[in-house]
């Protein structure tokens, strides 16, 4: 697991140094970038921590950078630094998952608090991702046939209905179900339904979930 780092993206050297110093004094590890493009080319998909972004960067504007990060699978919380007249942009940023937007001039304590919140959110998100990853690897052990049975079962159908639907005997369905329970490490239908929900599988519309999501 890579260490948690505050990524400071700002083209103003004075501000960059000041923020780095402040964050270091508060015990955060930082890395600085003078442009959005520089940051994009340096960031790894599994990076952890958070990003502090000035919304006016000379090459890419902060919101565009956020979209670019999303397409690269980077899901770090972003703290936007904005000027006073830029609230609508910031609202958009929040809707896309920014943890905070701070209006310049930014109070040092507010910045540190926002960074702490972002770090906590990233930790929680990564824990959730790890859990989901584990669930997914269990789910991926199912054979195509077992998956078909699984989707019918979580849709609430009875063994008999599933057997009729798939044109196999009810006894075979029971064997599939036992195998599915063992592979998914669940002990009941209720547990299995919760696992499906955690994986984001909609039983009414199973096509919404694809394995490479």
């Amino acid at each position: 697991m890579s260490p948690s780092i505050v990524h400071v993206v700002d083209d103003d050297q004075l501000i960059q140094r000041a923020m780095t110093r402040l964050l270091a004094a508060a015990g955060f590890e930082t890395r600085t970038y003078t442009s959005a493009l520089e940051f994009l080319s340096a960031i790894a998909p599994d990076a952890s921590g958070c990003i502090i972004l000035d919304v006016r960067l000379p090459d890419l504007n902060g919101l565009e950078l956020q979209v670019a990060l999303g397409s690269r699978g980077v899901s770090l919380p972003i703290i936007f630094l904005t000027g006073h007249g830029e609230i609508p942009d910031s609202v958009r940023a929040i809707q896309r998952g920014a943890v905070d937007f701070l209006i310049k001039p930014v109070d040092s304590n507010a910045l540190l608090a926002a960074v702490s919140r972002a770090m906590a959110q990233d930790d929680a998100a990564r824990a959730a991702r790890a859990t989901r990853q584990a669930l997914r690897s269990r789910y991926e052990r199912l054979t195509p046939r077992e998956n078909e049975v699984f989707l019918h079962l979580i849709a609430g159908r009875l063994n008999k209905q599933v057997a009729a639907n798939l044109d196999i005997t009810e006894r075979t369905i029971k064997l599939h179900r036992a195998s599915i329970f063992r592979k998914l490490e669940v002990g009941s239908m209720a547990e299995m339904a919760r696992l499906a929900a955690d994986l984001g599988i909609d039983p009414a519309n199973p096509a919404t979930y694809t394995k490479d999501q």
Partner: protein
């Protein structure tokens, strides 16, 4: 945040206090000047000469001076006793005071000062005015002596008296206060006139005696009033109070040898300006206080001026062309009107007619000038207003720009505080923090200063300046805005400077205006095409600065009228900015032109004459 700001402010306040303390420490303690006048405080010359001295001493507010005056009344009291009492009085009064300069306004005063110098003024330099001559050896003793030699222009006054009264055969000199030596001096000076007139002294001890003698002066004479000392107990009168009595008693013209007598009825005289003597004494004292050695200041004579009383001239039929060159005529009366009404009316009528004619001829010229002046003033007012509105459009970016250095200061201060609290601060870290705080403060100051010049009212003032520097300064104004509007700015300036005669603020105004127009023209342009190109091309005798955008271009219907007032493509503009810009450029004898580019957008070109290129 407020606590951090307070820390920064407290630090700044400490620095300021330290600087002030040092400045105060440099202020010198006042030096002391004492003037010894002769006679009572009310003696006519004393307040005048004293005012002159004070005026000169106060001319240098940076030289603090304690100024005192004392009056040696040896004229009214037995000299030796008065002198002794005065000495005791001064000794008691100024005990513990170091006196730096003593000014003696008369010979008696100087005598007193020199007699008691060792006890009373051991450290003081002496400045005097008087008839006496001080030898160079005497001048070098102690802190030295400097001064002004007063000459009484007896001969010059007499010469005027005889020239203006050619029939005069005798001169009567009223001078009972004058010493035998002075009388001898007067006789000596008069010797060359002895062929023209005989000299006699009226030396009566009492006022009635004097006036009786004056009454007896026969016609074909003039009287030279040198002064009369009257210390009859209970009837003490100063010489200038006696002057009008002498004039009233005399049947012949009276001339005076002091400026105090002018106005009392004497015809005039070649006299010195008492007040000027005062200011010169003060100026000499000041030179000594500011470091010149007294003995190094040459002793100069007083300046004398011929001054005459217009009324007395009328009475004795003396015309102005009988006066010497440079004469001052005082008390001109209104009798011209009374005596020459018809001639005055005629001349005045002619003058009025002539003036009317001239006024008529000048009318158009004046009207044109006034119009020109008004239009210049209107341009300045309009330019001020336009600049203000441009600046107010940039206010948002001022706030943004300022927030950067302010935030840097705040974060640095907070980081410093945290490091110090947790004992992790090294000297090197704190030094870097302080250095960054200072840099940020300098930047904030520059931002404020830049905008302040643009917001001030401004009168056009052409100076040689590098147009490329002006372009770069103008770019700094809009830099923040270009980022906010995601406009890429390409700057193509030759490395060599180009000097033009221009007004920095007004040319910046034009360029900022063009750049902001360029950005606004691209509001609907896709981000990747939002570019402003600012370039400069040097010609043989001129320089062309162009601002090009990739926006919508100038609409065909207003293409040719873009510089006319109230023509605008902006929904929120009134269309005056470019009109003012062109007027400013034309006031620089330059040109401002606009055209659409073949590949989209518009280009504005500012052409100015180069001053002699290096």
């Amino acid at each position: 945040m407020p606590s951090n700001v307070r820390i920064v402010l407290a630090l700044a306040a400490l620095c300021v206090t330290a600087v002030c303390d040092r400045a105060y420490a440099q202020v010198r303690t006042p030096q002391t000047v004492l003037t010894i006048h002769q006679g009572a405080e009310t003696f006519p010359a004393n307040p005048i000469i004293d005012a002159g001295i004070e005026e000169a001493l106060k001319s240098r507010p940076d030289v603090p001076i304690d100024y005192f005056t004392e009056y040696l009344e040896s004229d009214r009291f037995p000299e030796e006793a008065a002198s002794r009492a005065f000495e005791e009085y001064l000794r008691g009064k100024y005990r513990g005071h170091k006196i730096d300069v003593v000014i003696a306004t008369t010979d008696s005063g100087l005598g007193f000062v020199l007699d008691h110098r060792a006890e009373l003024f051991p450290d003081a330099a002496i400045v005097y005015s008087g008839l006496g001559v001080i030898s160079d050896t005497a001048r070098n003793v102690g802190a030295g002596i400097a001064g002004i030699r007063i000459g009484v222009a007896y001969a010059e006054t007499l010469q005027q008296a005889l020239a203006q009264n050619p029939s005069a055969e005798r001169v009567f000199v009223v001078a009972n206060s004058v010493t035998p030596q002075t009388q001898e001096l007067i006789r000596e000076r008069f010797r060359e006139y002895s062929s023209k007139a005989a000299l006699a002294f009226i030396d009566e001890p009492t006022l009635p005696g004097l006036l009786a003698a004056v009454k007896e002066v026969p016609s074909r004479s003039v009287i030279l009033y040198q002064g009369h000392q009257q210390d009859d107990p209970g009837h003490s009168m100063y010489a200038d109070e006696i002057a009008p009595l002498v004039v009233a008693a005399a049947r012949v013209p009276v001339y005076g040898t002091s400026d105090f007598f002018i106005g009392s009825g004497v015809v005039g005289g070649v006299v010195r300006d008492t007040r000027e003597t005062g200011t010169r004494l003060g100026a000499i004292a000041l030179r000594i206080l500011t470091g010149t050695r007294a003995q190094d200041i040459p002793i100069e004579g007083t300046r004398v001026v011929p001054i005459f009383d217009w009324r007395a001239m009328q009475k004795w039929g003396i015309s102005e062309n009988q006066l010497p060159p440079g004469s001052i005529v005082q008390f001109r009366g209104p009798s011209l009107w009374r005596d020459y009404r018809r001639q005055v009316l005629g001349v005045a009528g002619a003058l009025v007619l002539q003036s009317l004619l001239i006024a008529g001829l000048l009318y158009q010229r004046r009207a044109r000038r006034r119009a020109e002046h008004a239009s210049r003033r209107n341009l300045a007012l309009a330019a001020d207003a336009d600049r203000r509105s441009t600046m107010s459009a940039l206010t948002g970016s001022i706030a943004h720009e300022l927030s950067q250095p302010l935030n840097a200061i705040l974060h640095n201060a907070q980081a410093g505080e945290m490091l110090v609290k947790s004992n992790r601060a090294t000297l090197e870290m704190l030094r870097e923090i302080l250095s960054d705080i200072r840099d940020a403060d300098v930047r904030a100051t520059q931002i404020i200063e830049r905008h302040r010049t643009m917001l001030r009212n401004h009168q056009m003032e052409k100076k040689p300046l590098d147009i490329h520097a002006v372009v770069r300064e103008s770019l700094a104004f809009v830099e923040h805005d270009t980022k906010a509007k995601q406009v890429q700015v390409d700057v193509e300036l030759p490395s060599e400077s180009c000097v033009v005669a221009g007004d920095r603020v007004l040319l910046q105004q034009v360029l900022v205006n063009l750049m902001m127009n360029a950005m606004e023209a691209m509001a609907d342009t896709p981000v990747e095409r939002r570019r402003v190109t600012v370039r400069s091309e040097l010609g043989k005798a001129n320089v062309a600065v162009s601002v090009r955008d990739y926006g919508s271009g100038l609409p065909a219907n207003i293409d040719g009228k873009v510089f006319e007032p109230f023509v605008t493509t902006k929904s929120n503009g009134i269309g005056i900015g470019l009109t003012i810009a062109r007027t400013i450029v034309e006031a620089h004898r330059g040109q401002l032109q606009a055209h659409n580019n073949p590949d989209g957008g518009a280009t504005f070109v500012l052409t100015l004459q180069c001053a002699d290129r290096p």
